[in-house]
Amino acid sequence: MSPHEMALVRFGAALAGGALPQGVTADPPEEAERRFNVYRNNVAVGLGAALVQRFAVIARLVGEAFFAAMAHEYIAKHPPQSPVLHEWGESFPAFLEHFPPLAAYPYMGDVARIEWARGQAFHAADALPIAPAQLIGADPERLQLALHLSVLVLHLATPAVSIWQRNQPGGEGEPIGQSAEIALILRDRAFQVPVRAISAPEAALIAGLKRGETLAQAVAQMDDFDPTALLLELMQAGALCERAEP
C-alpha cells in the first residue's frame, strides 16, 4: 500500500471511532484529536441529515435522538456506495424491520417503503403525457397506454398509507386504517408526489397496464369495476403516456 493510500485508509477507519489516525497532527499537536472530531462529526451529521431528508416521516415517528442513533448503525452497515445521496437508503425499510428496538412497530418498514418510493417517483425520468384527444373515442380493445415511470404501486402488509398521511402537515386528524393497504404513488404535473390508498381492482388495473395489456384486457379481469375515476385521476396527473411503438 502506498503512503498516500495508507494515510487515507487510516483516516477513513478512524472516522468511525477509535484513536487518532497515525500521521495526523495539528498546531498545537495536543489539539489534533479535538480537530479530527470535526471530520467525524461532519460525516455522521451529513449522512444522518441525508437519511432524515429521505425518511422524514420515520424521523418524525421515532424522534430526533432515536433516529440519529439508528442512523449511526445504518450508516455503519449500509454506507452509501455513490455520492448521489438520493439513491441511498433502499435497504433502510428492511433494516427497520430487523432493528430490535422497533420490533413492536411493524409498520415502520412499510412507511419507509412509501418514502423510498416517493423519492424514486420524484426523480423518475420525464415522459410526455398523452393528449386527452387521443383518449376520447379511442378503441379500448386496441388502446395501449404506458404509465409514467413515476407510477408505483406498493402492496403493504400494514396500514402504512394512512400512517404516512397522518404524519403529513395538516394530516393529524386522518384516521388510521386497521389492515393492510395498497399505496399508489406518482409524480403529478406540478412535481408533487401524492400518496393514496387504492383498492385491489385499481392496483390490478395499473398492473395490467404496466404489463402492456390493452385497456380492455386490463379491465376484463375485474368484475363490477368502473375504471373511469382511476383513469381520469391518472390522466389529470399526467401519468398516462403514449406507448412507444414496439
Binding site: 493510500e5 494515510a7 455520492p83
Partner: protein, 285 residues
C-alpha cells in the same frame, strides 16, 4: 487583462436553492450566475431538471462537483464521472469545478471533503485524476482549495505551492475559496494574508465566499467551514485584496445550511458586486 480559465461572467453569483426558484424568476438578473452541486442533479428527471433547465436559459451556470474524490489514492469512480459528464453535456455550464479533497473510501461515500497529505506522491495522483476528469469532460476544470482542520506529519509541500504545481502540470484552473483559505490559516495558526500573497492568483477562475462557525480551543479559535451564516468581515477584507490584485473574478456566495430568505442571500451577492466594482477599477498589475 489575463485570460481566465472560465467563461463565467466576472460578477457575483449565488448557490441555487430550489426554495428560492419563484423569487429568482420574479427578480431577474439580480445575480450574474448560479452554481449547483452536480450530485443533486444526477437523477433522471422531475423538478430538479425542470428548474435547472429554466434557470440555465436565463443565467450563466457553474456546476460544482462534491463527489469525484480527486484527492483519493484509489482510482476515480468511472460511473460517477460518466454521469457528471452527461450532466455537463446536457447543460453546457460555463464552468465545472471540484475539490482538492477526497470523499470516498473502500466502505463507501463519506459525504465530507476530507484532507490529504501534500507530497510528491499525492501531487502525482491528484494530477493524474485531474487529467482523467478533464479528458472525460472535454473541458478545463477549476480545483478548489480546501478548508482543513488537521495537518499531516508527512506533508512536505505548502498548499499554495501544491495548487500552483497542479495547475501548471494539468492546465486546470483554480477556484479560490477565500473563506476556506481564512479557515485553514486560522486553524493552522498561519497568516492568511501571507497565504493570499503566495496563492497563484493568475490561475484562479472563480472565487468562493461563505460563512464559517467558530469554536474555542485552548490555543485559540477553531473555524469550521459550515456555510450556514453570512460571510465574516475578515473574509470580505481578504476578498477585496484578492480582487485588487487579480482584477474582477466570478464570485460565488455559498450559503447551504440555515438558508436565509432570498433578499438576504441576494444582499450578500450585492455586497460582493460592490467590492468587484470598487476594487477592480484598476487593471491588475
Amino acid at each position: 487583462m489575463t485570460h481566465l480559465p472560465t467563461k463565467l461572467p466576472a460578477t457575483a453569483g449565488l448557490g441555487f436553492k430550489p426554495e428560492h426558484f419563484d423569487q429568482i424568476r420574479a427578480d431577474r438578473r439580480r445575480v450574474g450566475f448560479f452554481e449547483i452541486h452536480a450530485e443533486n442533479y444526477l437523477g433522471a428527471g422531475g423538478l430538479p431538471h425542470a428548474q435547472l433547465a429554466a434557470l440555465r436559459a436565463d443565467y450563466a451556470l457553474s456546476v460544482h462537483g462534491v463527489g469525484l474524490s480527486i484527492g483519493a489514492a484509489r482510482p476515480l469512480d468511472r460511473d460517477h464521472l460518466a454521469r457528471v459528464k452527461a450532466l455537463c453535456d446536457r447543460y453546457a455550464p460555463e464552468s465545472f469545478s471540484e475539490h482538492l479533497a477526497w470523499s470516498s473510501h473502500d466502505s463507501g461515500y463519506l459525504n465530507d471533503l476530507l484532507p490529504l497529505p501534500y507530497t510528491e506522491e499525492t501531487l502525482a495522483t491528484v494530477c493524474a485524476h485531474i487529467d482523467q476528469v478533464q479528458d472525460a469532460l472535454g473541458r478545463q476544470i477549476l480545483l478548489e482549495n480546501p478548508a482543513t482542520y488537521v495537518l499531516f506529519a508527512s506533508s512536505t509541500i505548502p498548499e499554495a505551492d501544491f495548487l500552483r504545481r497542479i495547475a501548471a502540470r494539468t492546465g486546470c484552473g483554480l477556484l479560490l475559496d477565500v473563506n476556506n483559505l481564512f479557515v485553514s490559516c486560522t486553524n493552522h495558526r498561519r497568516d492568511p494574508w501571507q497565504m493570499l500573497a503566495d496563492f497563484p492568483l493568475d490561475a484562479v477562475g472563480e472565487i468562493h465566499l461563505g460563512g464559517h462557525a467558530v469554536e474555542d480551543l485552548p490555543s485559540g479559535p477553531l473555524l469550521i467551514d459550515a456555510h450556514g451564516s453570512a460571510v465574516a468581515d475578515p473574509v470580505w477584507a481578504l476578498y477585496a485584496e484578492t480582487i485588487r490584485r487579480a482584477g474582477p473574478l466570478p464570485t460565488l456566495v455559498e450559503w447551504d445550511n440555515d438558508v436565509p430568505a432570498w433578499p438576504v442571500l441576494a444582499a450578500e451577492a450585492e455586497r460582493a458586486t460592490k467590492i468587484l466594482q470598487r476594487e477592480a477599477v484598476h487593471e491588475p498589475a
